[in-house]
Amino acid sequence: MKENLKSFFKKDGVKSVLASLISILVGLIVGAIAVFLVGIFKDTIGVKGAWEGVRIIFAGILSTGRNVVGSLTWGYNAVNLGDMLFRATPLIMAGLSVSVAFKTGLFNIGAPGQYLMGTMTSLAIALSIPSDKVPTWIIWIIAFLAAMVAGALWGAIPGFVKAVFNINEVIACIMTNWIAANLVTWFFDGSVFCNQVEAGKTGYIYKTSYNGVATVKLGLDKVFKGSQVNGGIIIAIVIAVLVYIMMNKTTLGYQLKACGANRHAAKYAGIKDKRNIILSMGIAGALASAGGALYFLSGNTEFFWSTYQSLPATGFNGIPVALLALNNPIGVIFSGIFMAMLSTVGMQLTNLTAYNEYITDVIIGVIVYLSAFALFIRTWISTRKKEAVAKPSEDKEKEIQEEKTNERGNE
C-alpha cells in the first residue's frame, strides 16, 4: 500500500497537479495575510472586517451576501458560479494559446492582439450577416470559425518573422498587439455597428443579441440561474482536450515539442523547424482569438471600442494561467477557472466589505504572482522525491553516478 502511494506520487502528472495546488494554496495564504494586514490597519475595516476579508478570499465564491444582522452568509451562489465559468472561458482559451507556444519554445505575449482580432472578426460577421435570411446558429458558427482564422493569421505573423528573419517573437508580438488595438478601434469607429439605439452610449457596438446571435446555453442557464454562463465553457473545455490530444498523441505535437526543446536537433532530424514555428504561433493565435469570439458572441457582452488605448487583460492573463498549469492543456481548464474565481472573489470583496477595488486587484496580483511559482515547486517536489528513493540495485549504481556527473557538467 505504501509502495503504491509512493509510485503514485512519482508520476509526472501527479507531481504537476500537486505543484499547482501547492502554488495556489501558498498564493491564497499570502493573499489572505495581505488582506488581513491591510484590514487591521484601516479604521473602516478593523479586525472583524479583516477576518471577513480573509474568509472571502478563500470561499468568496460561495458567499451569498449578508443577513439582516449584517454577518456574512454562505451557500450555493448560482450567479457567482455561473459568472465564474463565463469569465473562465476566454481565460482558458488565452491560457491554451500561451501554453501551446511555450511547448514550442515560443513566448506568445501576443495573445491580447490575437484576442482582439478574434473579437473584431466575430462581432463584424455576427452583426453583418442578416439574421432574417440565415439561421442564427449558422451565423454563430461562421463568426466563430472566421475569428479563429483571423487569429491564426495574426499569430502567424510573429511566427513568420521569427522563423525566417530570426526576429524575437516577443518584440514582434508586442508590435502586433498595438497594431491590433488600433486596427480594431479604427475599424469600429467607421463601422455601422455602433450602438445608436440605447441613448447616451458612445463607443459601444451592438451586442450580438441585437442580431439574434448568441452562444447556445446548453442548459447551463438552468443550473446557474441568473448568471451569464453559456455553452462557451463547454466549447473551451472540448478545445482544451483537443489541444491535449494534439500535443501529446499526434505527430504534429511531437514535431512542435521537438522544435521547442531543441530546434537544432529537430532540423538535423529532417523536421521543418521554420514551418513548425509558424504553425505553432498560428495555432496559438487561433486559440486566443477563439477566446475573444466566445466571450463576445455570448449575446450579452458589450464591446467598448472607443478610445481603446489599452490591451485586453484577458490576453495577458493567459500567461499566468498557462504557467500555473505548467503548460498542460488539461491543467489550463482548472487554472483558468481559478483565475476567474479570483476575479469573482475580488468583486465580492469590493461589494461586501470596505476594501476598495484597487486593493482587491493588488491582492489578486499577489496570488497570481505566487501561483506562477508552480514550476519551481514542481522541481522542488522532484528533488525531494529523488532523495527519498531507496538504495538502487547494483547495476544501477553506475548509471546514477554518471547521471550525477552529467548533471554537474550541464550546470
Binding site: N262, A265, E397, I400, E403, E407
Partner: protein
C-alpha cells in the same frame, strides 16, 4: 612514507555520497610537488567528483584534504582559488557573448578608478599565450571560436591566475594531435617550473607520455597508484575497466566495391567569415570502406558535413549518393540515403528533454510503423526503442522512458549510434563518434563502424584524433583550410607524415 612536505596536496580517504550511491568510496590521492599525476578511470568512475571535492564544489562526507601537510577546508571554489588551485573543466565555464580576453580576466579584473583597465591584462595574457603556444584571438567572442580555442582560453584563464596546482579535466578531448603534443610539452614545462598538475584522462597514450604517476579509479573505488614507467597501456586499461580490453581496432582488409557517395567540386560559405570555408572538394566513398577526413579543428570539416547532410547549403559543386543528385535536397530527403552521427550530440543529436524512446524515432516518427493518421503509436515506439536498447546495450536509469539529459555521455552516444545504424542506409557519416567516450565505449563504437563496413556500407568518418584516424580508416583525406590536400592509404602513412599535411606544411598537387 617520506616527509610530510613531499606532498603538496593530499586527499585522504575521501568518501562522497550522493543519494543512494557512493561516488567516491575511501579514495586517497597524493600529489607531489612538481609532478604530473594522472587520474585514470572510465566515465562515472568518480574522477570528476573527486576533483570537484578538491575544487570545493562538493563537500565530502568523510576524509580530509591537506595542503603542504596542513589540513585545509575547501568549502567553495573561492577557497580553492585562494589555495592556488585552478581547474580547467571538461565542460567549459565560459561566457559565450564575452570576448576571449574578458573571459580570461573575469573575476580577476584590474580596475582603474572603477573602470576596467585591460592593458596590463592584455599584455600578461599575450605573454602567456606566446610563452606556451596557446594561440587565441583575444578579441573574438567565445561563441564564434572553435572548441579547441575555447579550451585554450580556459587554460590561459588558469595560468593568468598564477595557480600552483593545476587540474586538467580531460583537456585533450578536443585538441588536434599537434596541439596535444604542444600541450604535453606545456604541461612538462609547467611541472618543471614547480607547478603540480592533476591530469584527468582516459586516454592511455597521453598518460603514458606525460605523467609521472597514475592513480586508477573504478566505479568510485580506489584501484591503485602506480609509477608510469613501471606499467603499460594494457595493464592500465585492464585496471580501469576491470577486464581485458581490446585496444587495437580489429579489422580485415577493406574490399571496396561500388561508389556510394560522390562529391564533386563542392564549396561551402562560412557563416562567421565572409569567405569559403570549403573550397572545391572532390572525392568518392565506396561500399565496404571507411574513409576518414582528417584535419585540425576548424579547417572546414564541420561546414562540409553540414552541407553534406543538409543542415547548410553548398555554394557550388554537386553531391550524389547511389547516383541520385542530392546537392540541394532537404535534410529529410538526404536522410533517405545516409545516416548521420553528428559532431555535437547535445546540439544536433538529441532532444535532451525528450525521453530516450522519443529520441530513438526522431527521424522516423512519421513512418507508417509509428503513426496512424497522425496519431503516434506509443506501443510501437516503446517496442522498437526497447529492441534498440537491448541490441546496442544502451544503459539508462529507467529504460525507454529515461529523460535523455540524465544519461551519461557514453550512453547518449550509444543511443545515437543505435538510432542511426538501425536506419540501414548505404552511407554512414560519423563525425567524431568517440569524442569524450571512455575506452570501453570507444571499443564498442569502433567495432560497430567496422561491422557496418563489412556489411557493405560506405562509412565517411571525420575525426580529429590521429590514433583513431590511423587505426579505424582505410583511406585518409587530409583537409587543410577547406581543401583536400592529401589522400593516403592508412596502412602506408605515418602519424608524422599526416601531421605535416594537417598543419599545411605539405600539400599534394591536386589531380583532376
Amino acid at each position: 612514507m617520506g616527509s610530510e612536505s613531499e606532498y603538496v596536496i593530499e586527499m585522504l580517504h575521501i568518501t562522497k555520497e550522493f543519494p543512494g550511491i557512493k561516488a567516491n568510496d575511501d579514495i586517497t590521492l597524493q600529489l607531489k610537488k612538481g609532478e604530473i599525476h594522472a587520474l585514470l578511470g572510465e566515465n562515472g568512475a568518480g574522477k570528476s567528483t573527486l576533483m570537484s571535492v578538491l575544487f570545493g564544489l562538493y563537500q565530502p562526507e568523510e576524509g580530509i584534504i591537506k595542503k603542504d601537510g596542513k589540513e585545509v577546508k575547501i568549502d567553495s571554489p573561492n577557497d580553492a582559488t585562494a589555495l592556488h588551485i585552478g581547474m580547467v573543466h571538461q565542460h567549459f565555464k565560459l561566457i559565450e557573448v564575452f570576448s576571449v580576453l574578458d573571459n580570461i580576466i573575469l573575476g580577476a579584473e584590474d580596475t582603474k578608478w572603477g573602470f576596467l583597465s585591460e592593458k596590463a591584462a592584455r599584455k600578461k595574457v599575450t605573454e602567456l599565450s606566446e610563452k606556451y603556444g596557446l594561440y587565441v584571438d583575444l578579441d573574438a567572442k567565445v561563441e564564434d571560436i572553435s572548441v579547441g580555442m575555447q579550451q585554450r582560453t580556459e587554460i590561459l584563464k588558469m595560468l593568468y591566475r598564477d595557480n600552483e596546482i593545476l587540474i586538467f579535466d580531460e583537456p585533450t578531448a578536443v585538441l588536434t594531435p599537434q596541439e596535444i603534443e604542444e600541450l604535453m610539452a606545456i604541461m612538462k614545462n609547467l611541472a618543471k617550473e614547480g607547478k603540480s598538475i592533476l591530469f584527468i584522462s582516459h586516454k592511455l597514450n597521453e598518460i603514458m607520455e606525460v605523467s609521472d604517476r597514475v592513480t586508477v579509479l573504478r566505479k568510485g573505488k580506489y584501484v591503485a597508484t602506480v609509477n608510469t614507467k613501471d606499467t603499460n597501456k594494457q595493464e592500465l586499461s585492464n585496471m580501469m575497466v576491470g577486464r581485458p580490453v581490446q585496444l587495437e581496432v580489429k579489422k580485415d582488409e577493406a574490399k571496396p566495391t561500388d561508389v556510394v557517395l560522390s562529391v564533386r567540386n563542392v564549396s561551402v560559405m562560412s557563416h562567421i567569415h565572409k569567405s569559403e570555408a570549403v573550397k572545391d572538394v572532390s572525392f568518392d566513398v565506396r561500399k565496404g570502406e571507411i574513409v576518414c577526413i582528417a584535419g585540425i579543428d576548424g579547417n572546414g570539416q564541420t561546414e562540409f558535413i553540414h552541407a553534406l547532410t543538409g543542415l547548410d547549403q553548398v555554394s557550388g559543386g554537386t553531391i550524389t549518393i547511389d547516383g541520385h543528385d542530392i546537392t540541394k535536397a532537404s535534410v529529410k530527403e538526404k536522410g533517405k540515403y545516409m545516416a548521420h552521427i553528428p559532431e555535437d550530440r547535445h546540439k544536433h543529436g538529441l532532444v535532451l528533454d525528450f525521453s530516450l524512446e522519443n529520441n530513438m524515432v526522431l527521424q522516423r516518427f512519421q513512418e507508417k510503423e509509428f503513426q496512424h493518421h497522425g496519431f503516434i503509436k506509443f506501443d510501437a515506439i516503446r517496442k522498437y526503442s526497447q529492441e534498440l536498447i537491448d541490441k546496442f546495450d544502451v544503459r539508462s536509469g529507467q529504460g525507454p522512458v529515461t529523460i535523455t539529459r540524465s544519461m551519461s555521455g557514453g550512453n547518449q552516444q550509444k543511443a545515437i549510434i543505435a538510432r542511426e545504424l538501425d536506419r540501414n542506409r548505404d552511407l554512414i557519416v560519423a563525425v567524431q563518434p568517440t569524442r569524450g567516450l571512455d575506452v570501453g565505449a570507444i571499443e564498442f563504437v569502433h567495432a560497430q563502424l567496422v561491422k557496418q563496413r563489412d556489411e557493405g556500407k560506405a562509412v565517411l568518418l571525420v575525426s580529429l584524433e590521429l590514433d583513431e584516424v590511423l587505426s579505424l580508416s582505410d583511406r585518409i583525406l587530409v583537409m587543410y583550410e577547406g581543401r583536400i590536400v592529401g589522400e593516403f592509404d592508412s596502412k602506408k602513412v605515418t602519424a608524422q607524415e599526416l601531421g605535416l599535411y594537417m598543419a599545411g606544411a605539405k600539400k599534394d598537387k591536386k589531380e583532376a
